[in-house]
């Protein structure tokens, strides 16, 4: 397999890399508000990319993201007074990785909607355990988290975006990525051509959980105080799914664009019209799912195709009706 430069495909990687590099200079001129918004956007990008990395090709829709982000929150909550930020991210990632591996080994035998329901319940389960722990054992609600500064959090998020992008691109082109796609296309066929389906699924699920855990750890340092409700938040579980649907699921750019548009929309609605923010947000989501089932990237591709078709019609070479 010789690598050929494909303009349409590879230009998107270059553009994304350029944007990431541009972001590195934002703290030099951006306000605190800009930095916080950018950090949120980047967190959402990591979440939607890592979610789509596993759920996109395999078709196993996970709603456990809230549990992994929450574990990252609590890794920071427990350890922020004694460890530097990179260590907190590593711990948050590893704990999430471990939970995903254990849960995956048990539940990835479940197919389709059963897996989704289980992961949905997982978030509530972890939240309940943490609440019980705080009420019964330590008798103190929530934890305080050390703030490492807006700039530090910003750069930590940026590093995670870069790492996630690399992981996603590498996996997409690797044998492992092909195995994940094979499982999504036909799990039976995949297992009978020598793919270790269980191990592939568990590992893919755990890697995506690791990435979510790391950004959770960073996010917590931006919040000063965390508790089980804010950490193991169902919103974090639905966000990646919605962002991927919004942006376009099976494309590289879809989850990134979806996350960015989503975060900006969320922030501007909250600041402009806080009373009816949820109503408008919900309406936009419903409209998006109804009218853009293939997401923003899908709409873009349809428009491009229509323009191309229009052009060829004028040239008299249209054979679409033939």
């Amino acid at each position: 397999m010789i690598y050929k430069f494909n303009f349409r495909k590879d230009v998107q990687y270059i553009v994304v890399a350029a944007v990431v590099i541009f972001f590195a200079f934002v703290p030099l001129f951006g306000s605190t508000y800009t930095l916080t918004l950018s950090s949120t956007i980047m967190m959402y990008i990591v979440m939607s990319l890592s979610w789509s990395m596993f759920s996109g090709p395999t078709g196993y829709i996970s709603l456990a993201s809230g549990a992994f982000v929450g574990l990252g929150f609590y890794a920071s909550g427990f350890l922020s007074s004694s460890l530097p930020l990179p260590m907190l991210m590593l711990v948050g990632g590893l704990v999430s990785f471990a939970l995903a591996a254990i849960i995956g080994a048990v539940t990835l035998r479940l197919r389709g909607v059963y897996f989704t329901i289980f992961t949905f319940c997982l978030v509530e389960l972890v939240k309940a355990v943490m609440t019980w722990y705080e009420i019964m054992i330590v008798r103190k609600r929530g934890l305080n988290v050390r703030n490492f500064g807006t700039d530090t959090a910003f750069y930590a998020m940026l590093v995670m975006v870069a790492i996630t992008l690399i992981v996603v691109v590498v996996i997409k082109q690797s044998r492992f990525g092909m195995a994940l796609t094979g499982i999504g296309e036909s799990e039976d066929a995949a297992s009978h051509i020598g793919i270790h389906t269980t191990r592939t699924k568990v590992f893919g699920f755990a890697i995506s959980a690791f990435l979510m855990g790391t950004v959770g750890a960073v996010r917590a340092t931006m919040l000063h105080h965390i508790d089980p409700g804010s950490s193991f938040n169902m919103m974090f579980s639905f966000l990646p799914v919605l962002m991927c649907v919004f942006g376009g699921m099976k494309t590289f750019l879809g989850p990134i664009i979806g996350a960015a548009v989503f975060a900006i929309l969320q922030y501007s609605l909250i600041t402009e019209m806080p009373q009816i923010y949820m109503i408008i947000f919900g309406a936009i989501m419903i409209l998006a799912i109804l009218f853009m089932p293939t997401g923003i990237v899908g709409v873009y591709e349809r428009v491009i195709n229509r323009i191309k078709k229009g052009k060829s019609k004028k040239g008299g070479t249209d054979d679409a009706n033939a």
């Binding site: 094979g182 296309e185 297992s191 009978h192 051509i193 020598g194 270790h196 389906t197």
Partner: protein
Amino acid sequence: MPMLEATGISKAFGGLAAVSKVDISVNEGEILGLIGPNGAGKTTLFNLISGAIQMDSGTAVFEGKRISGMKPYQICRLGIGRSFQAAKNFDGMPVHQNVLMGALFGKKGQSAANASKIVDEVLDFVNLNELRDKMVHDIPLASQKRLEVARALATRPKLLLLDEMMAGLNPSEVGEAMELVTKIRDSGITIIMIEHVMKAIMKICDRIVVLHHGAKIAEGAPQEIAANKTVIEVYLGEC
């Protein structure tokens, strides 16, 4: 010693015995036919041999290694390939990539260069080279069934399990499929095939096993089976 020897294998779903105490063996270089009315347990038997489901009792030994209890991917890597009754291709991929999947994962540590060589060979072998860049749902049923076989062949099996590869094909396509099966055997691969197309079974099989209600009711050369009274009763009803 037979290449594959399964003794006393049983499988029940709930209270229903899908396969009960079946002995089946296949010798190297043979084409073994597996027939029986609908619901006789033929596909279940394939699922048991290939590891898709675990047997309740009995053992299966392939080339001296016990394969009962192994996972499908392990059994595949030992050299047992299979195709599915309803084609289970990777619909989102072009034809050549379907075959590449088999070549890449079929043997541990297969290099990419080697795998793409296997893809060319196999596509040539099953006559799908012209369709190699087409998507799966754009090619005719007969070709989709061939692709099933191609994907299994790309894993470099020694034994191939073919599940009704001729169902739904027209007579000329059946002829081509029969040619393909013979060609696969001549290339040194042993075959067990489930088939309802009697013309094909009688012509190309060396030996036939008949299943009914999960049990083996007859075994022998095609002529013997065609003359067997129990088999005729099972197929045509008691007269």
